[in-house]
């Protein structure tokens, strides 16, 4: 029987947003001193994490693939290559590290849906777990760990990815748009960096703590703020999934509750009946059951949660 095809089984092929090769005898130690997550993984490890600034605010994100002891491939789904490059170059002083922007050579294929892991296992003849990747010729296959459904990212040259598309089409997968993927991401509450969580925000405000921030790896840029927050503090704002009917408001629209400003909209995805969005909301005085308005005195038109 043909494997699957439900509404959520789709693939999406697009240009990569940012891909870097980082090599050199100091590559590991340099990256370990910059990245929010612990890179002490064996070769074949895939680690999602953030590039923070000295105030612990979010600059960019990446998945780092450890290809060899001192060879990494970093890619990001949303952060710009120029931003990541600048962030790394700013702290690259005396280290033996080569940073090579490979973005132009790479496309990205996202595969989503129940059963895609089993099919990938058939294709690459190897079982993959979150936190690992496999290099298959010039393609890198990485299980996605952030979304609450099975998904994989494959990055590589466009020509090599084309034959993958054929395989998925032949097994009933349907090509989706970036918008469909965005809708799934937003409904799951996963922030795009830096659109939803950027240089004015702390990782914890976007729910990016477990599996993203390492507390026992030693020093890295932003680490002191992360440690202080864990030990002493708590965030005052938090990213929430919200929903509404009709045409979506503009990104960064101010949200009100009880006549007072309580936050702002970030990413928005429209669907047939309305929209889902991520909103950064102050936690003090937030009534999760009451709606949010777009003006101080207007009616509540936006509600917390992806579903009624």
């Amino acid at each position: 029987m043909l494997q699957m095809i439900t509404g959520s089984n789709f693939f999406c092929n697009s240009k990569a947003k940012a891909v870097f090769k980082i090599t050199g005898e100091d590559a590991f130690s340099f990256l370990q001193g910059q990245f929010s997550n612990d890179l002490r993984t064996p070769v074949g490890g895939a680690t999602y994490g953030l590039w923070l600034n000295q105030k612990g605010k979010v600059v960019a994100d990446s998945v780092l693939l450890r290809i060899a002891e001192n060879e990494f491939l970093a890619f990001s789904n949303h952060s710009l290559a120029s931003v990541i490059q600048q962030r790394l170059q700013d702290y690259l002083v005396a280290d033996e590290v080569n940073l090579s922007d490979e973005t132009i050579s790479y496309d990205r294929l996202i595969i989503s849906g129940a059963g895609c892991g089993a099919l990938i296992k058939d294709f690459v003849k190897s079982e993959l777990r979150v936190g690992q990747f496999i290099q298959w010729g010039d393609l890198f296959v990485v299980p996605g760990g952030q979304l609450p459904f099975e998904n994989y990212t494959v990055i590589g040259p466009q020509k090599s990815l084309a034959s993958w598309c054929d395989q998925w089409v032949a097994r009933g997968w349907v090509e989706g748009s970036e918008l469909a993927w965005d809708w799934a991401r937003i409904a799951a509450g996963v922030p795009a960096i830096p659109d939803d969580l950027g240089p004015t925000d702390l990782p914890q405000e976007g729910g990016l703590e477990v599996g993203v921030i390492a507390y026992n790896k030693g020093c890295y840029l932003g680490q002191e703020v992360m440690a202080r927050l864990k030990n002493l503090g708590q965030v005052r704002r938090r990213l929430h999934v919200v929903r509404g009917r009709g045409a979506p408001p503009a990104r960064l629209a101010v949200l009100y509750q009880g006549g007072k400003k309580i936050g702002e909209l970030r990413s928005i995805a429209q669907h047939q009946e309305g929209f889902v969005a991520l909103a950064m909301l102050a936690l003090i005085n937030l009534n999760a059951r009451a709606g949010l308005g777009l003006t101080p005195t207007g009616p509540a038109t936006i509600w917390l949660g992806a579903h009624e």
Binding site: M1, L2, D122, D138
Partner: protein
């Protein structure tokens, strides 16, 4: 019977759920169009290639031609 209807019927026969057989058929036609421009195949060749892949997938096989693409060789010194 249209090409789309015929393909949807084939997908149904091969076990696709009725609600999505037409979407699958549409996707097959779309991919065939892409293959025509990407690889210079005729419409018949592109569809035959995809249907052959489908048949193999339906039998739980991976096409023997589906091999790892060559990794880029390092630049010569």
């Amino acid at each position: 019977m249209s090409e789309l209807a015929a393909l949807a019927k084939l997908c149904l026969r091969w076990g696709a759920p009725p609600a999505v057989a037409e979407a699958m058929a549409r996707q097959l036609l779309k991919r065939a169009e892409q293959l025509m421009s990407e690889r210079g195949l005729s419409r018949e060749q592109a569809l035959a290639y995809l249907l052959n892949l489908m048949a193999q997938g339906q039998a739980g096989k991976v096409s023997p031609e589906f091999q790892p693409p060559a990794a880029a060789s390092p630049p010569s010194e």
